[in-house]
């Protein structure tokens, strides 16, 4: 069954998606379909979308770290040039051991995104052609995009850039700091300069 951009588009796409078990879909806007599914059914969904609905364009693979649930969320953004809909397929995989399957055999661009996620989150993709370092070749710390990596603390420890102490800054600090109005001091009911309409 080939889809065509018709008015019953959503119905036919949803009909197609019923073939995947345990899948929840939700239209976020006329051209954005959010799909939540089990990690093991994702390859089936992607094959279905690419083979039967013309979703040939892998826009991106995003990774979100949820340390509280001890999970990584992977989001596959797929676009179809024919039906003009973007499907966002959300899956969750455990952070430990943090291994998932590559979709490189279906989508070539996945190689870049998977390599990027591997560098930034330490999530390994089996079957991806190159999991070597690309951006962080000079970095030997933990994967920086993980939530437990505190970049600011690392910077404070590594660099001594904060020895810049000009006189004017000392004056301000003597008066109690650089920010004269703290965010929590701003009263919400009072009109703000940025609320003015021109």
């Amino acid at each position: 069954m080939k889809l065509s951009p018709t008015s019953n588009l959503s119905a036919s796409l949803e009909f197609l998606l019923q073939e995947i078990s345990g899948l929840r879909s939700q239209w976020k806007s006329p051209r954005r379909l959010r799909v939540d599914l089990q990690a093991e059914t994702l390859p089936a969904l992607i094959e279905l979308l690419k083979g039967r609905a013309g979703f040939v364009h892998l826009s991106a693979i995003s990774c979100v770290d949820w340390p509280a649930q001890n999970e990584f969320e992977l989001v596959y953004h797929l676009w179809s040039y024919e039906v003009k809909v973007l499907v966002m397929a959300h899956i969750r995989i455990p952070r430990d051991p943090g291994i998932y399957l590559s979709i490189y055999d279906l989508y070539r661009p996945a190689a870049f995104f998977e390599r990027d996620i591997h560098e930034m989150f330490g999530l390994f993709f089996e079957g991806s052609p190159d999991m070597g370092k690309f951006i962080l070749t000079e970095w030997d710390g933990p994967p920086p995009m993980r939530k437990e990596f505190d970049g600011e603390a690392w910077v404070m420890n590594q660099f001594d850039w904060q020895d810049y102490q000009p006189g004017w800054l000392k004056d301000i600090e003597a008066k109690g700091g650089g920010i004269t109005t703290r965010p929590e001091d701003v009263r919400r009911d009072k009109p703000k300069p940025w609320d003015e309409q021109s």
């Binding site: 070749t137 000079e138 970095w139 710390g141 920086p144 970049g151 910077v155 660099f159």
Partner: protein, 246 residues
């Protein structure tokens, strides 16, 4: 925009001063003048600031009327323009580039990020103060400085060169231990460049009190002798496109 006052420059006598030879002084003046009027710059586009250099070089602002022109390789260049934040990976290349240049050479840090990290102060990937790693002659602050500001900064550098004040390149030789220490702190103990700065300092009689120190001792300890450049970069296993279906 300001010349660097807070970099502790080791005081040294001007090489031309005190010889009493009028002809030599005139000759030195002439060379300083020519140096100031002919600046070949190597603009390493380390960051955003590189986008304001093409306007400064091309028809509207036209740096060439001041004798400033872009050059392509570090061997030919006089000024190293570091245009923006320097990531750790770039900083290594900047240092290699700088050491390949022929003295007198000048470093200009453009954009606030080279001064103190700028808006990337909390970024794990960027080095914060360029003058910890290289002797910076001039900072042009701004995010990003306009072409006018860049040209103004270069003119100030020209003035400094003409007066013989801008010679921080000697500082790199004289205080190599200091710079090497900062580099080692960022890149690890086994950091080494292909250029033998200590040997050059000895050869050209540029040794200073801090050329040698604990960090250069560490360098000696970790230094591997310069090897012939191996013609392999680990590319052998890459797929060759021609064999793949087009």
């Amino acid at each position: 925009m300001s010349t660097l006052k807070n970099i502790p420059v080791v005081s040294h006598e001007k090489p031309s001063g005190g010889t009493g030879n009028l002809l030599a002084n005139v000759f030195d003046e002439l060379m300083a003048f020519c140096r100031s009027r002919s600046l070949f710059m190597l603009h390493y586009c380390t960051g955003c600031g590189a986008i304001e250099l093409p306007p400064a070089m091309t028809s509207r602002f036209d740096m060439e009327r001041l004798g400033i022109q872009p050059m392509v390789t570090p061997r030919q260049a006089d000024i190293l323009l570091v245009t923006g934040y320097v990531s750790t990976k770039t900083l290594k290349r900047i240092i290699l580039t700088y050491e390949q240049m022929n003295s007198p050479k000048y470093v200009i840090g453009i954009c606030s990020c080279t001064v103190n990290g700028g808006m990337y102060w909390q970024s794990y990937a960027t080095a914060k103060k360029l003058n910890d790693y290289l002797p910076v002659d001039m900072y042009i602050a701004g995010c990003m400085p306009r072409p006018e500001a860049v040209i103004h900064g270069l003119r100030e550098l020209m003035e400094n060169i003409k007066k013989g004040e801008s010679d921080n390149w000697r500082d790199y030789y004289r205080r190599y231990d200091h710079y090497l220490g900062n580099q080692q702190r960022l890149f690890g103990e086994n950091w080494q460049t292909p250029t033998d700065i200590i040997g050059e300092a000895r050869h050209y009689d540029l040794m200073g009190p801090e050329t040698l120190g604990p960090h250069t001792a560490l360098l000696e300890q970790h230094q591997t002798p310069l090897k012939p450049f191996e013609m392999t970069l680990g590319l052998a296993d890459l797929p060759v496109r021609k064999d793949e279906p087009r």
